[in-house]
Amino acid sequence: MPATFYSKDHEWVLIGDDGLATIGITDHAQTALGDIVFVELPEPGRSVAKGEACAVVESVKAASDVYAPLTGTITEHNQAIVEEPGLINQDAGSAWFFRMRLADAGAFAELMDKAAYDAFVESL
């Protein structure tokens, strides 16, 4: 069963049946950023460490980094949001950024589940 986890940097991480992690930003993050006008994504093949800045989102006013929520290798990125960054504002939960193969398949246990993330956002 695919399951979704969350990072403190406001990313969602969907762990698929194929073991690949799909990463996007949360609705809370897109609301805080406002209108997103530009996205830069990591190229497939790039190795990223947990916490490493690997994507950039630009809103009208400011640039923000998106961090690798876990350590692994990028396998794919979503060209659709590069061409139409507004998709992230429309539906952050489906506008994925990139997919990665995790160095440690069990590492997602370090992330929060939905209830924990909701409580985390509430506490901010």
Binding site: G34, D35, V37, F38, E40, E58, S59, V60, K61, A63
Partner: protein, 334 residues
């Protein structure tokens, strides 16, 4: 909400792009009460501190001018309106305390009216929403009642669009705001205010101009009134005159980037040959142009419209072209 010059200000209500486009297409309402209002009763004395023709500013007229220091640097940029019995100043929020101290230190009596509210109504439909102000031309200033509230109205703004800035007492501000919103204006925050002014090629104090900026370098020489260019008797006149005669080493230019990624303030500007020739002072995604634009200073030999440049963002060059300002034509009610 974001902190700005000591105030909690709304960055946006619904979204910067929607608010920006509402101002270009209809009318937007801004609460700019953080701006500092002040009164001066001696125009001749005040004139010594600014390069604008204040003695010649007729009752009912407003003018953009600059407070300069002895080195010709810009202490603040401001609006001055002749309301008949006195001048009304509108000062930048982050500079207003310094401005008042500076004006007073030069022996000019000035009364801060920082408690007063200031609301802006901007956009092509602003005039239709403010029938009380019918007959005012661009940069006119008048005292009048709006929805029964005593106001000081000027036909001016910071968006490049036709519109008004309306001052009132703080106790009346909420009623005035509700009246303007009730007439169909869309509330807009600081974010849209910044993107609108940048498209209009208007400087932001603290970003594009500061105490080290000679107005000639910032393309503000037009603010030196003709009469003041004969006597050169304002504070900071000599360095301004010198730069007018000798030319500026660096000039403020508009830059249209090829892509959507903005180059923000501080980004290095390189020539097509890779030489560092300047820096970005303001950069944003332009909702009207659907692409990135910037203001920045470049070496004078690269300031010609059409010059190709690279703006360095995240260690990579983003191509751009020097573009005549404003990026979006002004639509003032002349």
């Amino acid at each position: 909400m974001v902190p700005f010059a000591g105030y909690e200000m709304p960055l946006q209500y619904e979204g910067i792009i929607a608010e920006h486009l509402a101002c270009r297409a209809g009318a937007a309402w801004f609460d700019v009460s953080h701006m500092g209002q002040a009164e001066i009763f001696d125009p001749a004395a005040f004139e010594r501190l600014v390069p604008g023709d204040i003695a010649g500013l007729k009752p009912g007229r407003q003018r953009y001018t600059l407070l300069l220091n002895e080195a010709g640097g810009i202490i603040d940029d401001l609006m001055v309106a002749n309301l008949g019995g006195h001048l009304q100043l509108v000062l930048n929020a982050g500079r207003k305390d310094f401005d008042i101290a500076h004006i007073a230190a030069h022996g000019v009596a000035v009364t801060a009216k920082f408690h007063r509210a200031l609301l802006a109504l901007q956009g092509p439909k602003a005039a239709a929403m403010l029938p009380e102000a019918t007959g005012m031309s661009f940069m006119a200033a008048a005292e009048m009642a709006i929805a029964g509230i005593p106001c000081v109205v000027t036909r001016s703004g910071y968006t490049g669009e036709d519109g008004f800035e309306i001052g009132c007492e703080p106790d009346d501000a909420e009623a005035l705001a509700n009246a303007l919103l009730g007439r169909g204006a869309v509330p807009a925050g600081l974010g849209a205010r910044d993107s609108l002014r940048l498209e209009a090629g208007l400087c932001l104090y603290g970003n594009d101009i500061d105490e080290t900026t000679n107005p000639v370098a910032a393309n503000l020489a037009w603010a030196i009134s003709k009469r003041r260019r004969t006597n050169w008797d304002f504070l900071g006149a000599a360095p301004v005159r010198e730069m007018l005669d000798d030319g500026a080493a660096e000039k403020l230019v508009g830059i249209r980037l090829a892509g959507r990624a903005p180059a923000r303030a501080g980004a290095v500007i390189r020539s097509a040959q890779g030489e560092t020739i300047g820096r970005v002072t303001s950069g944003i995604f332009s909702p009207s142009l659907n692409g990135a634009v910037a203001l920045g200073y470049v070496r004078a030999d690269h300031a010609e419209a059409g010059t190709e440049l690279d703006l360095i963002v995240r260690d990579r060059p983003l191509p751009g072209v020097v573009t005549n300002l404003p990026f979006i034509p002004h639509r003032y009610a002349r």
